[in-house]
């Protein structure tokens, strides 16, 4: 599974699709890397929902660099960084 979707949570909208592509295709990957950087530069946090194969338990993996996205990841969710309320 090399196709990946970048989603972003937006106030008043729910999630929106930012980018989608095949990570094995160079052109797609360049576009994905650019979008990933743009989101982090805009102050977003990025998380990859994961599922442990053995236990089935679900968690999230917070990623700060594109290279940290697991190869089998299907989506990255961007959301505004946390601030003290």
């Amino acid at each position: 599974m090399a196709n990946i979707r970048f989603l972003r949570m937006r106030p008043g909208h729910g999630e929106v699709l930012l980018a989608e592509g095949d990570r094995r295709a160079r052109e797609d990957e360049e576009r994905l890397i650019e979008e990933f950087r743009r989101q982090l530069d805009a102050g977003m946090w990025a998380a990859v929902p994961t599922r442990d194969r053995a236990s089935g338990r679900r968690e999230a993996l917070m990623v700060r660099h594109y290279d940290e996205i697991p190869s089998q990841a299907e989506r990255v969710i961007f959301f505004p960084r946390a601030a003290g309320g």
Partner: protein
């Protein structure tokens, strides 16, 4: 002499009338345009309950697709999610190990995280945290409820330390009623007991 002055005044008034009429007309138009602009802005700023409902529906679907089945059922039935602290989430920590001296969080939508010890039901602290859309001109700056829950869930399970460091920590009771939290912890225990026993649990909504 007086008559001549009066005649001059009347003549001047007649000559000036078209100019006055044009001035009044354009002033009226400008006023109307300003009113129109303001009305337009007010229309744009009106909240759209349908849009917010649709956003929340999308957010619920996204949340459901990310969290564990038990956590989804918890949110659907009780309105919050319990997430175990990092100590209990370590691989191999399960069952009785989880219940012995470890802490957990309750995630409520648009409210602080509440840390507690499940074994004793002691409330530890509140972590006030939000996810503000800073670089936006949107009139709505708050995520839909279920997105807020998912953001907290991802940040907690992905990097608990960073989330806690970003939050403002307070003693229990600052924003969330401790009585309500204790009731919720009790409801959660009952809910889990009924699930283990296979009994029916009434849905929240």
């Amino acid at each position: 002499m007086l008559l001549a002055l009066l005649a001059l005044l009347v003549l001047a008034a007649v000559l000036a009338l078209p100019a006055i009429a044009r001035g009044v007309g354009s002033a009226r138009r400008r006023l109307a345009e300003r009113r129109g602009e303001r009305t337009g802005r007010e229309v744009l700023d009106l909240p759209d309950p349908g849009r917010e409902r649709r956003a929340e529906q999308r957010a619920r679907e996204l949340l459901r697709s990310c969290v564990n089945e038990e956590e989804w059922a918890m949110y659907r039935d009780l309105g919050f999610i319990r997430v175990w602290g990092a100590q209990a989430r370590r691989p191999g920590a399960a069952g009785s190990a989880r219940r012995s001296g470890v802490y957990a969080y309750l995630i409520y939508p648009q409210k602080p995280l509440v840390a507690f010890v499940p074994e004793t039901r002691q409330l530890l602290s509140e972590y006030c945290v939000e996810f503000p859309e800073l670089a936006s001109s949107l009139s709505v700056s708050r995520l839909p409820d279920s997105d807020d829950v998912l953001a907290k869930w991802m940040a907690l399970t992905g990097d608990e330390r960073r989330l806690v460091a970003s939050a403002n920590m307070h003693l229990p009771g600052r924003q969330v009623d401790p009585g309500r939290v204790r009731r919720d912890i009790w409801r959660l225990a009952e809910w889990e007991r009924q699930r283990r026993g296979g009994g029916q649990v009434a849905s929240r909504g």
